[in-house]
Each structure stands twice: as structure tokens, then as C-alpha cells.
């Protein structure tokens, strides 16, 4: 090596040295971060910072703990809830986007497994005449039905929501008062949450390019109203309320019934409590 090249080479070595040092620091920071992450991952999706008053000055989300009940023995499958939800929340009026839906379970004589359908089934769409109208066709009128019931479905607003866990940007979160929401202005539209929900409760809004789901009508419940689906149910099959209030309809429903949740093995700890469903309910 001659003298003329040495300074250049030294400068390069110094620069690369600094680069290495910077990489080292980054690694150390990432390592420390990883420790925190391990804790967070193990804790699954927890509630965000405990702000006192949210979203309005006269609503304190730390004072409520919302929950939902479904009494399947009462549901008549009229689907007013589905229609009310679509109108209230501007959900696409087709057979592929639902924040809430109703399933029908029919056991025919001589069959051990139920026949399951919902209003997105082609036969039911044909009966209503349109994807935007929701109806259960009377398809079993000539069959011998042993047992049949309806099961309303919606987001379970889980205590450990898998959808919140997988969101790469934190656009979806669980509120202090126990509702899982999506920030549509922050969602990147990757649909990882749609995959992660074991209940099929998440949908993708193609027009807005973001994920969507039931919010228990957060804009209504924070103003003292009931969710739209609960409001319109003619038979009281949908029950909503504050678990912190021991005399609320939901507290009474959970206390006075032997309730169960869907897919408890998922570890998500759902907060929609069911009465009157059987083992075949998916």
C-alpha cells in the first residue's frame, strides 16, 4: 500500500467502523425492545392508556364495562337486526359484508348433524329477490324438522382479541370500556385481522380500503342509547348493557342464566354470552 491511498483507506475504515458501531447500538436497542415485546405478546391485547374521559367530555369510559347477551331461544330469524345494523353503520348492502348476521340450525328427522344456513345462502337470496334484502327461505316446509333454532352472531369484543394482537400498526384496539374498535384513518388494509378472527366477524370494506367490524354501535352506547340491533329486536333476543351496573339487563342475563361463549378454546375470552345454543353451533 502506498502513502497516497492510506488516508482514503483510513477514512473508509473509520466510516465503516462508525457504521458498525451504529448497527451495534441499533441491535442493543432492538434487543431491549424485544424483552418488552415478549411481555406484551404474552399479555395479548390489553387496554390502551387509561384516559379518564373519552370520547366525549360527558362520557367516562373507565366507568363502564359493556357486554352483550344473545338469547337464542327467543330469536325468530326476522333479520331486522341485520337490516338495522347495515343502515345504522353504512355497511355495504350485499351478501358478503355483515357486522352482524343470523344463522339457522335445522335438525331433520333421521339426520344427526344440523343443516346450517344464513341469509347469504343463494337459496335465501333467491327467496328475498335481492342481495340487499335479508330473509330465510321456507326451504324445509316439506321436510320433517326435529329441532330448529336461530343464532344471532356479531363481534365478540374479546378480552384477548386475536385481531388486535395481529394488527401491525395498532389501528385496532380495545377500549377501557371493553369494546374493540378500528381507527379507519390509520388502518393500512392488510386484512391480517380478518384472517385472525376465529368468528369471521371482521370484514373488509373495499371502497374505503380498510377493515371493518361491529362496534356495538359505540357512537350510540356512549350517548346512553342501545346498539341498533338491540333496539330493533322485536323479541328481546339481544341484550346489551353495562356489567359494572349490577341491575343492568346484561348483568341480570349473565347472573340468571347458565351462559356460554363461542369457541372458548381460541383463548380470546369473548364477551358475547349465549343462552340456548347447542354443541353444533359454529
Amino acid at each position: 500500500m502506498n502513502d497516497t491511498t492510506r488516508p482514503e483507506s483510513d477514512a473508509r475504515r473509520a466510516f465503516l467502523g462508525q457504521l458498525g458501531l451504529a448497527a451495534g447500538y441499533t441491535g442493543a436497542v432492538a434487543g431491549l425492545g424485544a424483552l418488552g415485546v415478549t411481555q406484551q405478546v404474552a399479555a395479548k391485547g390489553e387496554a390502551p392508556s387509561p384516559a379518564k374521559s373519552f370520547p366525549t367530555p360527558d362520557y367516562d369510559w373507565s366507568k363502564h364495562q359493556w357486554a352483550f347477551g344473545v338469547d337464542a331461544t327467543k330469536c325468530i330469524g326476522c333479520l331486522r337486526c341485520v337490516e338495522a345494523c347495515k343502515r345504522e353503520n353504512g355497511v355495504a348492502g350485499d351478501a358478503h359484508h355483515f357486522r352482524t348476521w343470523v344463522e339457522r340450525y335445522v335438525y331433520l328427522e333421521g339426520e344427526t348433524r344440523p343443516r346450517i344456513d344464513s341469509h347469504h345462502d343463494p337459496v335465501n337470496i333467491a327467496a328475498s329477490g335481492s342481495e340487499g334484502e335479508y330473509r330465510f327461505a321456507n326451504r324445509y316446509q316439506d321436510a320433517k324438522v326435529e329441532k330448529a333454532f336461530f343464532v344471532p352472531k356479531l363481534c365478540n369484543h374479546c378480552t384477548h382479541p386475536a385481531c388486535v394482537q395481529v394488527c401491525p400498526v395498532g389501528a385496532t384496539y380495545r377500549t377501557e370500556d371493553g369494546v374493540v374498535l378500528i381507527d379507519h384513518d390509520y388502518c393500512i388494509g392488510c386484512r391480517y385481522c380478518v384472517q385472525a378472527c376465529p368468528y369471521g366477524a371482521r370484514l373488509f370494506n373495499e371502497e374505503q380500503g380498510v377493515s371493518d367490524k361491529c362496534t356495538w354501535c359505540y357512537h350510540r352506547i356512549t350517548r346512553g342509547l342501545q346498539p341498533a340491533c338491540v333496539e330493533v329486536c322485536p323479541v328481546g333476543a339481544r341484550i346489551f348493557g353495562d356489567m359494572n351496573d349490577k341491575q343492568s339487563p346484561i348483568s341480570l342475563f349473565v347472573r340468571n342464566n347458565r351462559v356460554q361463549v363461542l369457541k372458548p378454546e381460541s383463548g380470546n375470552a369473548p364477551n358475547v354470552f349465549y343462552v340456548g345454543i347447542d354443541r353444533e353451533v359454529v
Binding site: R12, H97, Q165, G189, Q195, V210
Partner: protein
């Protein structure tokens, strides 16, 4: 509205929101490209790190292939996002509980690593062109040389040290990146078809075979185009590697499938219905039969008979092409297969890809072709061939 184009026909009972497949063919391309990156890097490391001399003719080509594929890897994701302009949110405000939050950092780190390694490997060539080249290309190389024209023995030793270090770091980085994509799928408990601890390993080994197969095809093709003889020991080396890693891949895939069937958890009936029905063609015939058993048999025969010459070249290249196809089918069967089996465990969805559109087959095919367009340009700017005039600076320092 695009919605109804995506709405898939279904049988049995599926949740209403499931009738639109969330992850389309673009998400098939994404792990396919990442796998090629990791596999090509493995081939390059055989020489750069492990010093296996017979891989020398393809070492630089492998590095360039890896880089070109990696540059395209984020594209299918960006094209898929509902809001691509918010993509950087995952790096600005990463939500660390998400398996996907780390992707931006991991991919960014790996692209920088690949660029640095390529720069060190090609520095002698860049300097030479910066000094002797003509016209605008000379300015290009001058800019790339970063003002350092030092090719002394000392400087070359220094470069060798860096190349070696980067190649060593690159091995866990490349394989980590791809194994982690396997984890993204394998950790999703909502889907029985994906939820497997073996998924990261299956992804990893299939990545290695796809990268090796790709190198075989590109190398033989490039030799034909340049009218130079194929380096047979090199080709044979890659054939051995392909054969060996294929054994592992097939074994892992077999074990994964067997344990799924043997565990027979809830929903297994619908999985079996799926496997016997729609999956029969893509999984058993195309992925396992045509794509895996045929090339494995051909390769075994060639190795057993000690075949050489033109027969070896044709046999190995054809096998490699089949393996490339098999891995693509494997990605399809995992990504699309997982979504065709409904979360209800009572029904099947039938994904019908569109031809055009943002998430159609044409877009996917273009994305698969893009790295090779890049590579076509890259080999002109940075010839990876052994007879390039500059002595190769690669390999661990003695």
C-alpha cells in the same frame, strides 16, 4: 364496485364475511419471492461463507438474483394493501404484538445487507469501470465507487473481511426473514390448515430448494445465451444440494400433513373433504407428484448413474424447473388453501382469481417476472461471470 368480483362461491356453511377471500394470489407471490431470496442467498453463501469452490461460478449470480428478488418482495404487499400510502405506519408506530410489525425492519435491514455485500463483492469491478469506462456509465460507476479507488492488497483484504462478515450475518437474516413468514401463517390459530409449529421449517426448506432450483435454471440458461460451456461440477453440486434439501422438505411437508390428519381435531372432516376434492389436483398431482416426486426420481437416477454431459444438464435443469413450479404450488396450497377451508369447519370456499385488476393473475405474473427483468439489467451492469476481467475478491480470508 370490486367486491362482487372477489365474492367466492361456497359449499356447506361458511361465515358470510368469509365469502370474500382476504389474501389473494398476490400473497402467494409474496412468500414465493421471499423464498427465492433466501434460497439464492444460501447458494451464494455456500461459496462466500463455507468456501465450497464448486459453487464459485454461480456465487455472484446468486447474490445478484437474491438482491433482485428482494427489491421486488415488498411490491405484492404494497399492491395488496387497502392503503399502501400508510404502509410505513408499521415502521413509524409498530405494534409489537403483531407478527407482521417486524417485516418492514427485517426487510429493510436485509435489503441494505444485500446491497452492501454486493457492493463489496463488485468493488474491484466498479473501480475498474470508474477508471476505464466511457460516457455516462463511467459517471455511474464513479458515483458507485464512493470516491475510493483503492485496490491495494490491504484494501482487498479489508473488503474480503466485510464480504465474509456480511455473508455470515446474511444467513440467519435471509432464513430468519423467510422462516418468520412461515410463522405469520403457522401462528394463526383461527385457521386449522395453517396452525402448525412446522410451518416455519416447511417454508424455510422449500425456500432453499426454490432458490437452488432457480439458480440452476438461470445459470444453465445464461450459459446457453452466452454460448459458454456449463461448469459441470458446479451444476452437479447444485443438483446434490437440491436433492438433499428436497428430502428434508418432502419429509417435513409429509410429517406436517400426517400430524394434521392424525390429530384429527374438530373440522378434520371438512379438511379431508377438501384434500380429496379441490386440493387433489394442486396438492397431490401438481405439488407432490409432478413437482416433487418426478424431479426427485430424475435427480436420484442421474446421481446414481453418475450421468454427465448433456443428459445431466437437461435432466437437472428440467428437474429444477419442476421444483420451481412445485414450490409455487406449495405457496398457493398454503395461502389459498388455508382460506378455502372455512373457519366454520362446515364448508368450503372456492377462490376464483381474476385475470386483470390490482390483485389479478396478470399483476401476480408481472411481479414474478419483475426480478428477472431487474436481473437482466443487473448482469449487464455487474457481470457475475467468472471470466470477468477482475480477479474475484471473494471468499474468507485465509
Amino acid at each position: 364496485m370490486e367486491t362482487l368480483v372477489h365474492a367466492a362461491p361456497f359449499t356447506g356453511y361458511v361465515y358470510p364475511n368469509e365469502t370474500i377471500i382476504p389474501w389473494t394470489v398476490l400473497i402467494v407471490v409474496y412468500p414465493y419471492l421471499t423464498g427465492l431470496v433466501a434460497g439464492a442467498f444460501t447458494v451464494s453463501s455456500m461459496y462466500q461463507v463455507f468456501g465450497i469452490q464448486r459453487f464459485k461460478p454461480v456465487a455472484h449470480l446468486a447474490l445478484l438474483t437474491s438482491l433482485c428478488c428482494m427489491l421486488i418482495v415488498p411490491m405484492p404487499l404494497l399492491l395488496h394493501l387497502g392503503h399502501a400510502e400508510r404502509a410505513l405506519n408499521s415502521m413509524i408506530t409498530p405494534h409489537w404484538t403483531s407478527a407482521f410489525a417486524v417485516f418492514g425492519y427485517a426487510a429493510g435491514f436485509y435489503v441494505i445487507l444485500l446491497m452492501l455485500e454486493t457492493w463489496f463483492v463488485y468493488r474491484p469491478y466498479i473501480v475498474q469501470q470508474a477508471q476505464r469506462g466511457k460516457g455516462p456509465l463511467r459517471w455511474f460507476y464513479q458515483a458507485l465507487s464512493l470516491g475510493s479507488h483503492d485496490l491495494s492488497e490491504n484494501a482487498m483484504n479489508y473488503d474480503r473481511k466485510w464480504t465474509f462478515t456480511l455473508a455470515v450475518i446474511g444467513i440467519p437474516a435471509a432464513h430468519g426473514l423467510h422462516g418468520y413468514i412461515g410463522f405469520v401463517f403457522g401462528s394463526l390459530k383461527a385457521r386449522e390448515w395453517w396452525s402448525s409449529d412446522l410451518m416455519p421449517l416447511v417454508f424455510l426448506f422449500s425456500a432453499i430448494i426454490s432458490g437452488t432450483a432457480l439458480l440452476i435454471v438461470i445459470y444453465v440458461l445464461s450459459c446457453r445465451l452466452r454460448r459458454v460451456p456449463v461448469d459441470l461440477p458446479c451444476l452437479k453440486g447444485m443438483a446434490y444440494a437440491l436433492w438433499g434439501f428436497m428430502m428434508f422438505t418432502l419429509l417435513l411437508e409429509g410429517v406436517e400433513f400426517a400430524s394434521l390428519v392424525y390429530r384429527a381435531r374438530e373440522g378434520i372432516e371438512i379438511i379431508m373433504e377438501y384434500v380429496r376434492g379441490p386440493l387433489l389436483m394442486t396438492f397431490f398431482v401438481l405439488q407432490f407428484g409432478v413437482g416433487s416426486l418426478v424431479p426427485l426420481t430424475v435427480l436420484s437416477y442421474l446421481i446414481w448413474r453418475g450421468t454427465t454431459g448433456r443428459t445431466l444438464i437437461v435432466g437437472v435443469t428440467a428437474s429444477a424447473a419442476l421444483v420451481l413450479f412445485a414450490v409455487l404450488m406449495m405457496r398457493w396450497n398454503v395461502v389459498i388453501g388455508g382460506q378455502e377451508i372455512a373457519k366454520t369447519g362446515k364448508g368450503l370456499v372456492n377462490y376464483l382469481p381474476t385475470i386483470g385488476g390490482r390483485e389479478g393473475l396478470l399483476a401476480a405474473a408481472s411481479l414474478v417476472a419483475m426480478p428477472f427483468v431487474l436481473l437482466w439489467a443487473a448482469v449487464r451492469l455487474f457481470p457475475p461471470w467468472q471470466n470477468a476481467q477482475v480477479p474475484s475478491p471473494v471468499g474468507p480470508s485465509p
